[in-house]
C-alpha cells in the first residue's frame, strides 16, 4: 500500500472533520476564484468593446456616462448634439480622422437598443452578416446575434420600438414599424446586443414620439408622408447627414488615422474647450472606472485572504488533533517498518489532500455561482458572462492552496515524525 493511499484513506475516514475542512477551505478559495473570474471577464468585456475607438464625441456631461452609453450601451445618453455642431468631426476627408461613426439612440425593442448609424460600425466590431442583408432603406434593421436569440426575431419580422432604453409596453410606438432584413453573426462584443438601422429611421420614430406628446388629433398619414420626404437620406453617409443640419444625433465614435499624431493627442481637448460638445477617451474613462470599482475588489480580496488564513488554521487544527488521536497508529506504522520520513510525508500528504479537495470544492462553488450570476448580469447589463471558463490564475490559486495545505501540515508532520515510539507504546 502506497503512503499516498494511506493518506487518502486517513482523510476520508473522518467525514465530519473532512466536511468542515472542505467548507472552510472551499469558501476561501471560492471567493478568491470568483473574484478572479468576475474581474477577468468584466475586463475582457470592456477591452473587447474598446474596438479601436479612440474618442467619443457627444453632448456635454459626464465623460464616463458618454463612454458607457455610446460604447457599452449600459447608460443613458448625456443628451443629443445638432448635426450643425458635430459637422467638423463628421466632415469627410478630415485630416486626422479615419472613421467617424454617428450614433443615434432613443428607442429600444424588449430592452435591446436601436442604434441609428452607418455600416462602418460593422468594421469596428468585426461584425459579419450571418443571414439576410444589412439594412438599406428607412425602417429596416439588422439585429445582433443575442437580440435574434433572445427575442426570436426572424428575417422579415416587423416590430414596434419603445421609447427610452427599458422594456416598457406603455411606451411602445404603435405605428412605427421596423422590419428585420438581416441577422449578424456573434462577435462577443456589444454589437451582438444591438439593433442597427439607419439614422433617418431613428429620426422618423423620434418625430412620431414628439408628435404624440405635443400634437393632438394629428393626421398621421399626412405626417408620415411629410416625414419621409424631409428625413429621407440618400445613402446614410456622413455627407448625407451634413445635409440635415437641424437634426440631431447622440454621439460620434472616432478612430484616428494615426493615434500618436500630435494633433490627434490634442484633438479631444480642443473639442472640450472650443465647442458645445464633449470628447471622452475610452481608455482613460475605463481605467477610471476600474480604479473606482477596484476599491470594492480590494476589500473583498482582503476578506478572502482572511478566510484563507482561517482555512489554513482549520487544516492545521484538524491535522494536529487527529495526530494526537492517532499517535498509537503512527507509532505502529514505525513498528511495522515505516521511517520517520515516511511518517512526515504521510501527514504532509494528508494536508495536501485536504487542501486539494477544498480547492476543487471552492472552484466548483465559484464557477457555479458565476454561471448563476451570469443570468442576472445578462438581464441587467445584457452582457454575457459565463462560469465555464478556466483562467490561468486559477492554476496559481491551486498552487497557493497546496502551499497553504503544506504550511498547515508541517508542524503536525514534524511532531509526528519526531515522536518517541517507545514512550507512546509504553503508555497503558
Amino acid at each position: 500500500m502506497k503512503i499516498s493511499t494511506l493518506a487518502w484513506r486517513n482523510v476520508i475516514t473522518n467525514p465530519l472533520n473532512l466536511i468542515l475542512n472542505i467548507i472552510l477551505f472551499g469558501l476561501g478559495v471560492g471567493l478568491i476564484s470568483f473574484l478572479l473570474l468576475f474581474n477577468q471577464q468584466l475586463k475582457d468585456k470592456f477591452d473587447n468593446n474598446l474596438a479601436g475607438i479612440d474618442l467619443v464625441v457627444g453632448a456635454k456631461g459626464s465623460p464616463l456616462q458618454l463612454i458607457l452609453c455610446s460604447m457599452y450601451h449600459i447608460d443613458n445618453p448625456t443628451g443629443n448634439i445638432p448635426i450643425k455642431t458635430a459637422a467638423p468631426v463628421l466632415r469627410p476627408n478630415h485630416p486626422l480622422i479615419k472613421k467617424a461613426i454617428p450614433l443615434s439612440l432613443g428607442d429600444n425593442f424588449k430592452g435591446y437598443r436601436i442604434v441609428g448609424t452607418n455600416h462602418e460600425i460593422m468594421e469596428l466590431y468585426n461584425g459579419k452578416i450571418e443571414s439576410g442583408e444589412l439594412y438599406k432603406n428607412n425602417m429596416e434593421v439588422t439585429i445582433g446575434k443575442a437580440v435574434a436569440v433572445e427575442t426570436n426575431l426572424k428575417i422579415g419580422d416587423e416590430f414596434s420600438s419603445a421609447h427610452g432604453f427599458e422594456d416598457d409596453q406603455d411606451l411602445t410606438h404603435d405605428h412605427a414599424s421596423f422590419k428585420v432584413t438581416g441577422i449578424l453573426a456573434g462577435t462577443g462584443s456589444v454589437l451582438d446586443q444591438l439593433i442597427l438601422t439607419n439614422t433617418a429611421s431613428v429620426w422618423a420614430v423620434h418625430d412620431h414620439h414628439e408628435d404624440e406628446n405635443t400634437v393632438e388629433n394629428h393626421n398621421h398619414d399626412a405626417h408620415d408622408e411629410n416625414a419621409d420626404h424631409t428625413d429621407h437620406l440618400h445613402d446614410n453617409s456622413n455627407s448625407d447627414l451634413l445635409q440635415h443640419e437641424d437634426k440631431e444625433i447622440t454621439s460620434v465614435l472616432i478612430q484616428y488615422k494615426n493615434r500618436t499624431n500630435f494633433q490627434a493627442l490634442n484633438f479631444g481637448r480642443n473639442i472640450n474647450e472650443n465647442t458645445e460638445m464633449q470628447a471622452a477617451s475610452p481608455a482613460i474613462e475605463i481605467n477610471r472606472l476600474y480604479s473606482m470599482i477596484g476599491v470594492g475588489t480590494d476589500t473583498l480580496r482582503s476578506l478572502a485572504i482572511i478566510i484563507a488564513i482561517v482555512s489554513a488554521l482549520s487544516i492545521f487544527i484538524s491535522l494536529y488533533r487527529s495526530m494526537k488521536e492517532r499517535k498509537y497508529e503512527l507509532a505502529l506504522l514505525r513498528v511495522m517498518g515505516a521511517s520517520r520520513v515516511k511518517i512526515f510525508m504521510l501527514i504532509i500528504l494528508e494536508g495536501l489532500i485536504l487542501a486539494s479537495i477544498g480547492y476543487i470544492f471552492g472552484a466548483l462553488i465559484s464557477h457555479l455561482s458565476m454561471e448563476w450570476m451570469a443570468g442576472y448580469l445578462k438581464s441587467d447589463f445584457r452582457y454575457n458572462f459565463t462560469g465555464w471558463v478556466f483562467l490561468n490564475e486559477e492554476w496559481i490559486l491551486f498552487g497557493v492552496s497546496l502551499i497553504i495545505g503544506f504550511i498547515a501540515s508541517i508542524i503536525p508532520a514534524i511532531q509526528s515524525a519526531r515522536s518517541d515510539i517507545h514512550k507512546i507504546l509504553s503508555e497503558k
Binding site: M1, K2, L6, R9, N10, I12, T13, R326, Y328, E329, A331, L332, L333, R334, V335, M336, G337, A338, S339, R340, V341, K342, I421, H422, L425, S426, K428
Partner: protein, 209 residues
Amino acid sequence: MIQTHDLSFEYPGGHQFNFPDINCKENEMMLVLGNSGVGKTTLLHLLGGLLTATTGGIKIQNKDITKLFGAELDLFRGQHIGIIFQNNHFVHALNVLENLMLAQSLAGAHRDKQKCLQLLERLNIGHKAKSKIKFLSQGERQRVAIARSLINNPSLILADEPTSALDDFNSNEVLKLLEEQSKKIGSALIIVTHDNRLKDKIDKKVILS
C-alpha cells in the same frame, strides 16, 4: 536467532535496568517473567529496536541491531521482528486485510493478498478480512494482531502481555496459537508477561527482578 549480552538501559531520570543475557533459537519459545516496574516493557522495546540500549548488544539474524539507526532500523524491524502489543493498535482507516497488507508493504515486501487471506484463515478470522477494526471483538483483534506479527515471516516474534487480560480458556488458546504459528514459520517467540499462569507451560524462562 536472538542473542543479547550485557544489555542495560538508563532512563534520563537516572533509573537503570540491567538485563540478563537472552538466547533464543528458531522454533524456540521463551518466557520473560517479572512483576510490574522491573523493566519488562523496556526489555521488549529494546529487543524490538524501539529503544536504543545504553550498553550491550542485540544480535538478530546475526545482525547487531544496536548498530542500526533511523530508516535502516525501522526497515529491519518491519522485516525481521513481529511485535504483539498488550493493547492492540491498528490503522483504523483500513480494514483487517488492508492492515495486514500495509504491514507487508511497509516492510518492503511484495503485497500478497492470498498470503494474508490464508493467514487470517489459519487464525480462524478469514470471515473478518473485509471488516473495519472497530467492528471486531477484543478476541478477534488479538488474532488480527497476531496475524500481523506473522505476516512477514519474521525471525523473532515479541509478545507483550498477550494473555493477561484473558480468562484461563482463552489464555490457553492464545498461547497455543502463538506457539503453533511461530513454529510454522520457524521464528523465535519471546513472551513478556507477569501472567504466572504461563509459568508452567513454557520451559525456557528468564525472570526479571
